[in-house]
């Protein structure tokens, strides 16, 4: 009888422990979001979104250059990476049964696990060093390198969800295979593919390390792709490790904007595929 009681007690304790683990795991999330709002929201004003960095000593200034930079770099990364990633993903789903499919899948997952700082170094030796200067383009290529395997794998998953009967129906109507694939299968999986792209965008929008030696950052507003360009995470990093209180204040505000951007992308992605099996980045 005592034995049975102790078994029950242990069971209750361990069940409680898993509740505790869940609570403890969510504590940092709550703490981080709370601090971002507490410390960042106060600095979000018109100037923050419309002005760029000002020289030290002047008050005010904002993140306009960094926000624009992030939009441009991430947009360019998507322009490069999304077509490649989606194409690769459709290949994996439609023709990926053989050894090549296995190889691409394995390599894409491996690529996904490579630290982003290593991707940054790669983009530096591949593009920045031969060109002799830091460019927004190099930053976009570094981010595209991260984006491609994520988009490819989620696209594959989404295309696989399309029921075979749709494929068969289209083929039976006399559609050639390629039109079946493009106009029926890929279109049906469209919302899921868009979701995968948004998740990948959210991931790369927050990346700092690949931009350190590629886009480099810029104190001034710039939209030129072949010049150094500011980006939100870079600017947050520089201001956070800098010595001035004014910088720290702006770093919190920038971080708040960054996380709103990332969470918005993630939420839109979720809404698009609500009710389906959603892939998380």
């Amino acid at each position: 009888m005592a034995h049975r009681t102790s078994r029950r007690v242990i069971g209750a304790l361990m069940t409680g422990a898993t509740y505790g683990a869940a609570a403890l795991a969510l504590l940092p999330l709550a703490a981080i979001l709370a601090m971002l709002i507490l410390k960042g929201a106060g600095s979000l004003n018109w100037d923050f979104f419309t002005r760029s960095s000002v020289p030290l000593g002047e008050s005010g200034g904002g993140f306009a250059h960094a926000i624009t930079g992030t939009l441009i770099i991430v947009g360019l990364a998507c322009a490069i990476g999304v077509p490649i990633g989606v194409g690769g993903g459709v290949f994996l789903a439609e023709f990926g049964g053989g050894p090549l499919g296995w190889l691409v899948r394995f390599v894409a997952d491996t690529l996904n696990g490579i630290p982003s700082i290593v991707i940054g170094i790669f983009a530096w030796t591949w593009i920045v060093r031969p060109m002799g200067k830091f460019t927004a383009l190099a930053g976009a290529i570094a981010l595209a390198t991260i984006l491609i395997p994520i988009v490819a794998r989620t696209t594959e998953e989404m295309v696989r969800l399309v029921p075979n009967s749709l494929r068969e129906a289209a083929l039976a109507l006399g559609y050639p295979r390629w039109r079946t694939s493009l106009q029926v299968v890929v279109r049906t999986a469209g919302a899921g593919i868009v979701t995968g792209c948004l998740v990948a965008m959210a991931r790369v929008a927050g990346e700092t390390a690949p931009l350190l030696f590629t886009a480099l950052g810029n104190q001034f507003f710039s939209t030129r792709l072949l010049e150094p360009m500011a980006a939100l995470p870079l600017q947050v990093y520089v201001y956070a490790v800098g010595p001035y209180d004014e910088w720290h204040r702006q770093a919190w505000a920038g971080a708040l904007v960054l996380i709103i951007l990332v969470l918005t992308l993630g939420t839109v992605a979720r809404i698009i595929t609500r009710g389906r099996r959603v892939s998380h980045g």
Binding site: A22, A25, G88, F106, D109, I117, A240
Partner: protein
């Protein structure tokens, strides 16, 4: 309904045999082109991986020729004298990750068990979503939080309390100024927890219900079913999840750079500053004055690349063995 027949479309005239052959050829040509284009696009990941490996070796070549394998075992890092040994960086990378794993594994597996076994049904999806949110927070924001919240909290609130009890331990030797392996390990633990938890959860979900039911039918409590049946069943998958988390921790850059203190010293003390490969690259690359210094940093990046590729491959093999086809590994990273 005799009118119906009248509105039916006329059957399309059969094309002549010659035209049909032509049409078929056209079709197959389109298919071949389609497949060719997709294959080329699919070759992008292998191409990129090969390029990354090639570029890293090329960039690291001067340092490889100069230091060879001794780079991995020497601990002097002096850009002025041109001496570069990465041992403190390699040690720091492994040590900070070890701390992170020790904190994160029990928590993450606990969360996974909670989500699959014990949580009330209506809590499961929201809690799983919130845990996934942890993975969505950018590294630099963890760093910002680490610098301004976690480090002061450790230094001013926690350390004075626990110091009398722990200061005799070798891992708590020395003065504690804040930026430290401990701070980096805790931040890393928070960052990798969602990855380990998400993959472990998928692994536990893949355990057949019959296993669980059999254990319960034999009189096991629900915890005993988890401990004696479900966890052993998913063991290799959970190992895979853990190793996947390790891969993340080893290469994590920004948050670690901001809180680890950045000194090329080997110390077992958790309260002392340290360094990791990724942090050293982030910190020194832009300021490296000599080409040998740059090359040494690329060499360090190559070492990190090899470590993470091996660790990830190992994780994948373990996860694929359990959740074959369900893409459990890919969807959570």
């Amino acid at each position: 309904m005799t009118t119906d027949a009248a509105v039916l479309p006329e059957p399309a005239p059969q094309p002549a045999a010659e035209d049909r052959w032509k049409a078929l050829r056209m079709v197959s040509r389109g298919d071949v082109a389609y497949r060719l284009v997709l294959t080329l696009l699919a070759l992008a990941p292998p191409f990129l991986l090969a390029m990354i490996a090639g570029e890293l070796v090329r960039g690291a070549w001067p340092a490889i020729r100069r230091f060879g394998a001794g780079f991995l075992t020497h601990s002097v890092w002096d850009p002025v004298l041109g001496e570069f040994g990465a041992l403190p960086l390699i040690f720091g990378t492994l040590y900070a990750s070890l701390v992170a794993m020790l904190v994160a594994i029990p928590l993450a597996v606990g969360v996974a068990i909670f989500l699959t076994e014990f949580a009330p049904r209506r809590l499961r999806t929201p809690v799983a979503t919130l845990v996934e949110l942890l993975a969505a927070v950018p590294s630099v924001i963890y760093g910002l939080w680490g610098v301004f919240v976690l480090v002061p909290l450790l230094r001013e609130t926690l350390w004075p309390v626990v110091r009398p009890a722990l200061a005799w331990l070798p891992i708590f030797q020395g003065a504690f100024y804040g930026p430290s392996v401990l701070a980096a390990g805790i931040i890393l633990a928070v960052m990798i927890l969602p990855y380990i938890a998400a993959v472990s959860r998928e692994v536990l979900l893949a355990v057949p219900a019959a296993q669980r039911e059999a254990a319960l039918a034999l009189g096991a409590t629900r915890w005993e079913a988890v401990w004696t049946v479900i966890l052993p069943y998913g063991r290799s998958g959970i190992m895979g999840a853990v190793i996947l988390g390790l891969g993340r921790a080893l290469g994590e850059t920004m948050a670690v750079t901001m809180v680890i203190g950045n000194t090329h010293e080997i110390s077992l003390s958790l309260v002392q500053p340290g360094y990791t490969i990724a942090a050293a690259i982030a910190n020194e690359f832009a300021e490296a004055a000599t080409s040998l210094h740059l090359s040494a940093l690329v060499y360090a990046a190559l070492v990190l690349f090899v470590i993470t590729v091996v660790v990830n491959a190992l994780a994948r093999v373990l996860i694929w063995r359990v959740a074959r086809g369900s893409a459990a590994g890919s969807s959570a990273i």
